[in-house]
Amino acid sequence: MNFGAAQTTSLLLTIGAIKLPFIFGLLVFILKNHIDKQWIYRLSVIGAAACTAVNALNLTINAPYDIVSQSYIGNSVIKFDYAFYTDTLTKVVALIVSLVGLIVITVAGIYFKEKSYSLRFFSIIQVFITGMLGLVYSENILLAFIFWELMGITSFLLIAYDTHREPAIAAAKKAFFYTKFGDAFLLLAIILLYSKFEQHSIKSIIQIAQETITSPEVRAILVISGIFIGFAALIKSAQGVFMGWLLDAMEGPAPVSALLHAATMVAAGVILVGRFSPMWIELKVIEPLIFIAGIAACTAILAGLIAVYTDDLKRLLAASTISHLSLMYIGLAVSSLTGSWWLLGAHASFKAGLFLIVGIITVNLGISSLSKLRSSSILENDKWLIASLGIGGLVLSGLPIMSGFFAKESICGATLERIIDAFSEKSIAIGFEWSAIYLLILGSAFITAMYSARLFKLAKPQLLSIELSKYKITQIKNLPLNLIVIGLVISFVYALLKINIWFPSNITLWISFILGLSASITGFWIGSVLMPITHIEPTIIAKRYYFDIVINKIVMEPLYELASLCKSFDEKIIDRFVNMIGNLGVWISKQIAYFDEKLLDGVIRTIAYIYGFFTLLSNFLDRFIIDGLVKQFCETWSRIYKYIKLPQNGQIQAYLLAIMITVVSFALINLPKMIETVQKIMEIQRKATGGS
């Protein structure tokens, strides 16, 4: 196999491993109503097995580079490439993830056998595994973010799998909201890193950071983005005040819990921080490391105390997950990478096993209380169950030669080295910070051993009462339990093989080794001998340190209140204002209409009235005065005419008489004038004759 071919094969196998569960999930979703239930189950198992096989195959290929990418699919603007890590560590973690997935899916079939259930579980869980595998492999932080969020939403659907149960829904909601809060910080960190380095590829970011670390601005960006990444990861792993979501997530079905608590979801944060922590350590960007380690160390103690006091078996395991995750974070922060990854793998194997066992117990008995379980006799006949519970308890405790032990020792040793380094570099404050963290680790080792002893005690046959069980655990076939025990044994044997790596090599490590060992042993001794299996849980621990209540009070409730405030602002003020303007427009138009109707139109109407008055007047004048006059005149004349007509009788004498009368009357009328005229003429003649 040549250089390029190994690279290509590695790329294909990686993409195949990520895609396979997704494809099977889709297949299950499409086929779930069309084929038999049993076949759906088989199909899921085949999918998970195929994925595991591909991951195992990928492990055998020795690719020359640590990163493979399919950059031609990516985009030059977004800088979004399908790039993957293909180093051995990544491949091992991926194998563990797919193996846990396979076991969980196999057991889920049994778990769900007697329940009426929807087959969508099998499709969602496959997509969930895709999310985790993708996160493990991705080299591009944007690509990792896709898988990170994919896990967030699928975990919501898985926890709320029983969609009619209120507590499950509330738990799912809480899990989603809490982790989404962290995701926002991760997105912020991605964008901040881009704003400085213009890259989304983790390797390129680290490379550029190494070259430009001297600039204080780059350092500031690294610190801020580091704290944001740490914050996102810590929330995803239910650390600090956000531990509530993981404890509540136990409301989901047992296989889901097993999957969430083992190598997936909660481990996602560890993997993400694990990608960046070598850079922080190398460049001495100490703030994110202290931040992460500090919170994780406190969480380890707080969660451990919950596990010590709780009566609920499931909650004990959940709290122990949180405290183990804290240890992984501390390991990353103190550059004990191998310790962290080792603990991740070991924890995945024994926690998945323990959860499935507890799941089987609770499903069949309906109880998960430690005190009640102790008095029942379920465990007595099943050797496998007893054995695996016992081994699980021992591995959990971190006692010598168990896989958990080496991881813990290695982390303790590395922390001690950090303390010595810090003091030798004369950075006293940091030295004290690491010392505090170291003490907290020792404390948590002690507490871990204490609660593990409670589990171990449950498995001790002589402690179980012998009364006959009325419960039949017919579902517990040997197959899944065999798988669990085999998984535990493999991790155990692997630990033995690699013992030389963990074995103390110098005086510092020897001191740490002895301190850690004595803490564990004392804890286990106190837990198994001195402590009763059940005892009263202090209120503060039962309420989980009031973290959830406080978060609810300061975040969720104000958010809903703000939302309703905004709604009423929107409806009562903005919308009302808009409507007011609209109404103002209507009012103005009404005023204009009034003006138009009453004033402008009034004037014109008045004019029209006046005009009408005049018309009437002229009509009156016309009809009664002018017309009347004319009529009167005509009438008068016609009357006169009658009299005038009288003399017209057609006789000649009458006419002659008339002429005579006329002539005479004319003469009579004109006589004075004629006389006058004659006199004047005569006078003129006289003057004319006499004067001459």
Binding site: F29, I73, V77, K180, F181, K567, D570, I574
Partner: protein, 546 residues
Amino acid sequence: MNNITPIQYLISIVTNPLSWIIFAPIIIGFLTLMLDKKSINSHRATALIGSIIPLVAIIFAHRGFTFDLGPDPLFGKNYYLSLPWIDVLNISFTIGADGLNWPMVWLVAIVSIFAVIASFKITERTKEYFFLILLMQGALYGVFLSLDYFLFYIFWELTLIPMYFLIAIWGGPNRQYAALKFLIYTLTGSIFMLFSIIGMYYYSGTNSFLMIPIAQAESWHTVFLALKHLIFLGLFLGFAVKIPMFPFHTWLPDAHVEAPTPVSMILAALLLKMGIYGFMRSAYFTLPDIALSWGPFIGTLAVIAIVYGGLVALAQRDFKRLIAYSSIAHMGFAMLGISAMNADGFIGATYMAVAHGIITAALFFMVGILEERTKTREFSELGGLMTVLPNYSAILILLSIASMGLPGLMSFWGEFLALRGAFTVSEYWSKVSTIIGNGQEWFTFLGFFGILGILVAAVYFITMLIKVLMGPIKERWALLKDIKFLEASVLIPTVIIVVILGLFPSPLLNITQYSCVDLHHSIVLKFERAKEIREARAAQGLSIQK
């Protein structure tokens, strides 16, 4: 240009696929009017044909396109067509496509077909209904493809009238109020826009209504500043009402709630994008200096829309109103990207516009499906439907998480690029002063709040999913029917688009990125040219003083 014969004129229109895209739906819409009133199936078939022809034309045209247009955009490329229309007023019929409008054209084509299929459920007055839908489509294509301001304005107004009737005739109980509110609100905005268009015509000195020459006009450097502010204000009002931006948004929930499902789809998916496109093509392209000084203000309004819209959505009790308010929040992301004025922001805004179009149209359709079956949209009435309607639930979950911006699905790239744009604004912003610090710091601040908006989106979508799909189920919903073939024919393609473009964003980015980079580049060039002119003037002033 003027001695073109009518035959040549006609030929150049008919042979251009872009004019087919615009006119085919309108012509077929008028053909619908001639059909028999009672044969509903023929109306449906015609409407479907009328929506598919543009898609065919788009696919045909797409093959010959180049999107890396370079510094001299468009002229003579990508079926650019410029014909004289009203010579006296210098109005031309100019259409063309580049990376800014071509994604929108694709969006119109896809969503129109979905809306027509969704409209098959409408049974009354189908002839008029499909006529209006087709007219609307043609007008939308016209808005996005026209490169002449006058043509743009005509098509812009033409979208209003069909929308008014579609809401007022086929709408819900309070339809008259909603339709009138929509009409008056948007009409008021567009009148201001008209003023600005006329202003740009006169002051650009190009003596034409062509968008690109106006934007590239040298005379903008000498125009009186207050005038430029006024022109920008007019454009801002026109587009902001349409998007809608924060204080102008109240028409949207009312219009959405009252409109019938397919009309809501068109309204949310396409009409809001006119504002986004308008900002990029017109306001920010032409007057970037004014946009820079308004930037913190516009960015703040955008972020208020993101957070505030999300919070109001969270408090809703009505399924459809929730989706309507989520649209306001999503448009806020697009606007934040635009106001950041860099390539990332512009690309993000375009991507957001397309993603929101596809996803929200489908979400409105989902609401319609549920309302048709249950006759209610109140959350208090719904609940526990996941076991009854498994396929419906799966699609609703996928669309909701896509809409809330889950990475790997379509909407994320829009939000992500817009936010990245806000965080990486160019150095020009450092000269802009705001309440706290300079523009760069202000935008970082806005970016933080934008990310808060993503959180709020997650909260209200998950709350919605829980209220609708989970919890105890009511007895009367036990016999509800899951998704039918007709509904699946809309939803399945949507889901495929959302997932494919979410995992492989490159096809869409390759269309849009060059134009957005060019837009950013032209803005930078303008700033540099303005600086040169300022320096030259200063030098002149000094020499005069000497």
